[in-house]
Symmetry: C6
Subunit: 273 residues, 6 copies
């Protein structure tokens, strides 16, 4: 009937702002030039979707190690587009769903995205969405195939869609032959150098208000050099997420510096396994 | 009853023109003699179906690398036949279908094709239709068997059928013993030579209206030689689809040439992996 | 009740003449002495079923490469028996059936065959009936077991049954331990020698009415020697089915001889892979 | 209620005489001393079940190559016992049953066997009952487990049970750890020596009424020596079943001896593969 | 409601005496000191459950070769405890059950066991309960997990539980990581020495009432030495179950000694495979 | 409606005190400095959840050999937090549940935990929760994925959650890529040194009230040195759980010391396998 038809066509305005904002819980710390360059490339694809006649669909994959900041950066690019329809497809929102229910939910979000003129869909943590586990290996092929087809499906005339996907398991996606599906890929690296770690410790105010005083900066430098001594390396190789959690754990301890150095060293050594 | 019987027999006129036209979104650029030869061979099989008494069914497989233009060329051949019934079987139109629903949908399209005197069915992206994934490997055997049997099944007396199938995974189809099913196979190659790339850049009007002036042609030549310098090869080996997307991305950037060269070089290097 | 009982016992007269005749679409060309010898052996088993007291069931497997003519020959032997009940079990007639539906359909046909005194069942393309695919490998074990048991099951007193099965995958059937099920096996070879190919080209009237004139025969000889030159072999090794399709494709082309030679050479070379 | 209870307890008299007699379609030809020794050992176990207080359940496995006569011999032993309850569990009687239906049918037959004082159950062709296929391998574990448990389950007080099972796949049963289930195993060999073959040809009246004349015996000897010449061996190694079918096929041919020799030689050579 | 609540709490008195007694059909023959030591260790665990405050749950695994007497000994220990609740979980009592029905039945028995103060549960033949088959291998993981959890689950306050499990497949249980579940393990060996065999033959009255006369003992010794001669070993290595069946089979034969020696030698030789 | 809404939001106060207390059946014996250090690290994470703004979710994994005391220590840390909502997710509470029922139960407990301001969830024995068995290997991927996602899912604003998980199979969890899910990992070791064993024997009052007299201590020392002599090692390498059970078994025996030494030596030797 008429009303139903109307509903079917009316754009599904709906920026999941809150949901996406939660993904950037601790803000975006500008600890290295990589961060800016990633955000810039993101805005290039945003413009391509907005303006090009020939490419109404652009899909981009952000990949990198666990906790490197992939989800936060994808959310940032999505929110920065200002597109009227922005939706997040995440494993957390589908806990306990059957394969069929997942397929239906994902299809529904894409269908909604075909009703607005300009749309962003963030497909977070593809390996988790498809229930990937390396033992077996096992995964949901029906969810995988749904994603593979939907991320290539041209939107109807007059609709445009930017897809931002994230994954920790790029090589798994490659084995799944899903990489060809993406128009572009962006790597998100770990925190690499002591200096970058320093920027983060300051921004996270590890010593509270004291941090940005000269004394605070000196204590930060002290931490950096102790870490370097204990690990005998200047390669950090740890994700920003784990660093920020370590700062908070350390804050609970009386010997804050010792605890942070210990946690950091453990993290750096784990990396080599 | 009578009405039902009628409906069952009446030809299902139905050219999916729109759907097939969407597959040729960016037209067919005549960038190499291969293109004409593929279209010519296609029209030979079209004539065989139209005229031969002994071969009411002819099935042809277009195979080649991702983005080489297989779907566009199959659509072109199908549309060029002028047959009254033309249908597209594609993964995009069956997102989220169960195996049984896929089997039913595919069978229905073939059944419809047996009602018209002259018919074309385009079976796009076989590996995706059968939910192929190399890990495992896994695929839907029921969809595969349905396709294998239907693509060999003789139409009833007086009905003729041209099947045009596409695939990126010819070697997988070979392992599946499905290649014998086809009466003929046509390879669709990547863009191979810088000169071919040049033809494409001009046709895609990379510099807008300026492209076809002398200045434009010079800039195009400049791009070709920079790409060659950076990649140290004159083998392009990239699909036309990716090239056309790259042109659009580059158009968003202020330093258009640099961006295109970078994207192109990345694509050429990826190829070697 | 009485009526039901009657129905259960009354012979299910039903020669699927039309269905079986379709299997011999292009007749049986007597291109080699093998053909006669296969038909002779077939009629021997037909007589054994008709006359022997001790062997009311005889099952025969026709095996050979794709397109060698297995189905056509099985149909020919079956039709030649003149038995009142002849049925074809083929994958084409069960497209999209569930495993259970296939098992039920197959069982029903055998049950029907137990009601007539003299019966033929053609079990066409066993590997396809059991949904065989080499990747995995996968197949329907329930259909396979049903066939294995039914093809050995003694008909009730006074009923006789000839089973004619075909397969392209004899070695697969061997791995499935199903070969012991058959009382006899008959190999159906490819077209082997240029001379045999010549007989076929004449019978298929490649040059229309001109073919059987002296000029026509000369053109045929010309084709044979060109093929031999291009492939550098006198071993054809191609099934009659593919040859007959090639003839029809060539007929659409202006340079008929060139096209046929090209298709034939391609087929001969494929064979070596 | 009372009637139902009665029914549950009343012995299920029911000799499947007809069914079992069909298994011995061509009688038992005494072609070698093995045959008597197998029947003797069978009657020993029959007596043990009839008389011993301590072993109310005895299970025996007859194993040997395809067509060696296992089913006929098991049926013979069963019928010879004269026990009031004799049932046959065979794949032919459960065509198209689901796993659950098979399990239920088998359980029901054993339950019935617990109601009579003296019972025989013939479990024919175990590998086929469990839907065994070497590719995979695959089989019905639920049917297998049901058999494994039922063939060891002690009948209730006062009931006795003889189980006669047959198989072509003893080594498979061994891998399935089911051999320990049997109290005894009896091997059934192929026809081994030309002399044994001679006895069979005479008994099967290969030359009709003439066979048992001197002329007939001479022709039989002639066959034996021709087979020996052609196969260059005195080891027959073929099952009696195949020999008897061969006799019947040969009878249809005008050159009966030639045909039989050819079929026999083929059978002997197959054996070596 | 009240009645229901009552029922739920009232102890489920129920010694399956009859069922367990059937497991010791041929009594416990004291043929070696091992037998006493096994029964003693069993009574130690019985006392621990009866008296210790800290270990309300004790689980013991009896393992050993097929027919060694595991089930009989477990039943003996259970019956000897005199605990008010004794239940047997055996594959024979769950023939044809679905996995879910097995899980439910097993859970129910344990639940019942939590209602009495002192309880024994005999879990007979774990590998058969979980439908274990080495080909694959396959087994019911849901039954296995249920057993693993229930055999570790602490009974509610004031309830105590002794679990006696048996298995022929200890190494399989080890691979399943289920051995850690048991507090103790007891090995049940085969009959090892001729002297032990002698004790058994006497106890089983192989020559009826004559057995225990001097003449009988002499005949027994004669059997032992003939077996030794024929097998050239003094290692018996056969389970008591098979020996007792052999005695009964031999009793049916006129040449009793010869038959027993033959069966025994066959059993001893089988062992070496 | 209103009432429903209320119920949905009202905090689910519910400390499973009893359930968790049962996990510490034999108290926490302070037999080594490790024990205190584990409890201290536990309280650090408790404080982080209580106080930090940035980390409302902290998840910790306690891993170590079977019977090392993981569950008891996790329960202790949880109870010590004094948080208003404490729940235990354990395999024992989900015996016989289907995968779907497990997923639903686990999801419900987490949902409840999002309603209280401060929450602890103990996820006991992850490998058993996911029905892990090394043969295959097999496990419930749906339960695993549910845990992986829920243990990372941020609680809603204003809610905080401490997750304490335990496992014997850390390397399996690593293969499952689930270790990254945890913010911290704590190893729980076996009892290592004779001196530690001595502390435990005293605390467990192996000789009743006599244990803590000089005579008792001497007998304990005697046990330690006998064990050392028999095993020729000073490495104990046995979990405290098994030691405490052994003490109880030994108490039932008249020669208590001998029995304990035997059980202990067996346990130490098992360890080396
Ligand atoms: N420059 C930055 N880039 C990304 N995240 C940052 C940055 N600076 C601070 N953050 C914070 O670091 C955290 C990054 O976590 P995020 O979940 O995005 O990582 P991830 O790579 O998606 O992790 P996972 O592999 O677990 O999915 C966020 O809380 C974010 O607010
Ligand atoms: N000569 C040409 N041949 C094919 N496509 C062309 C040609 N010239 C331009 N195109 C355009 O290039 C695109 C080719 O994309 P198409 O989807 O057909 O590639 P494909 O090989 O099917 O890709 P995929 O492997 O992803 O299925 C279309 O947009 C088409 O309009
Ligand atoms: N001598 C012949 N033997 C068999 N077929 C012949 C012969 N002469 C002509 N034909 C024709 O050749 C074709 C053989 O095709 P057919 O389907 O029987 O081959 P097939 O071996 O069953 O193929 P497939 O492997 O695809 O099942 C038929 O159209 C038949 O009419
Ligand atoms: N001595 C004999 N032993 C067994 N069968 C004999 C003997 N003499 C004649 N026969 C006949 O031989 C045939 C043996 O076939 P049967 O089905 O018993 O063999 P089988 O070993 O069970 O075959 P399969 O492996 O196919 O199950 C029967 O028809 C039987 O009447
Ligand atoms: N000392 C003994 N120990 C055990 N069983 C004995 C002993 N003496 C006599 N028996 C008898 O031997 C038989 C042992 O069979 P039982 O079924 O217990 O063996 P099992 O090891 O459980 O066999 P399976 O491996 O088949 O389960 C029983 O009938 C029992 O009465
Ligand atoms: N210092 C201690 N640490 C842990 N447990 C202790 C300690 N002292 C005594 N115990 C007791 O030891 C037992 C430890 O058993 P627990 O079930 O916690 O071990 P587990 O490692 O979880 O075993 P499993 O691997 O079987 O899950 C408990 O009964 C506990 O009361
Ligand atoms: Mg992320
Ligand atoms: Mg395509
Ligand atoms: Mg065929
Ligand atoms: Mg048989
Ligand atoms: Mg037992
Ligand atoms: Mg634990």
């Amino acid at each position: 009937d008429f009303l139903h038809a109307l509903e079917e066509v009316k754009p599904a305005f709906g920026v999941n702002e809150e949901e996406l904002t939660t993904c950037i819980q601790n803000g975006i710390i500008n600890y290295s030039p990589h961060i800016k360059s990633i955000l810039d490339e993101g805005s290039l694809y945003t413009e391509q979707v907005r303006k090009s006649e020939h490419t109404p669909l652009v899909s981009v994959l952000l990949h990198g190690p666990a906790g490197a900041g992939k989800t936060a950066l994808a959310a940032k690019i999505g929110l920065a587009s200002g597109f009227p329809f922005i939706k997040l497809i995440s494993p957390e929102s589908m806990v306990g769903y059957s394969e069929a229910a997942k397929v239906a939910t994902i299809s529904k979000i894409f269908e909604d995205a075909y009703k607005s003129p300009l749309n962003v869909v963030v497909v977070d943590n593809i390996e988790r969405l498809v229930d990937w586990v390396p033992i077996g290996p096992r995964f949901s092929n029906s969810v995988l195939q749904t994603l593979m087809v939907l991320m290539r499906k041209q939107p109807p005339k007059g609709r445009r869609l930017l897809i931002l996907a994230t994954t920790t398991e790029r090589s798994v996606l490659q084995q799944m032959d899903i990489l060809d599906t993406f128009d572009a890929q962006i790597g998100v690296p770990n925190v690499a150098k002591p200096q970058e770690l320093g920027v983060i410790l300051e921004a996270a105010e590890i010593f509270g208000s004291e941090t940005k005083t000269d004394a605070g900066r000196k204590r930060v430098q002290q931490i950096l050099s102790t870490v370097q001594e204990q690990t005998r390396t200047t390669e950090i190789g740890v994700g920003i997420k784990r660093i920020l959690v370590g700062v908070e754990t350390a804050k609970q301890d009386q010997s804050m510096e010792d605890r942070f150095v210990e946690l950091m060293s453990r993290a750096i050594n784990d990396r080599m396994v």
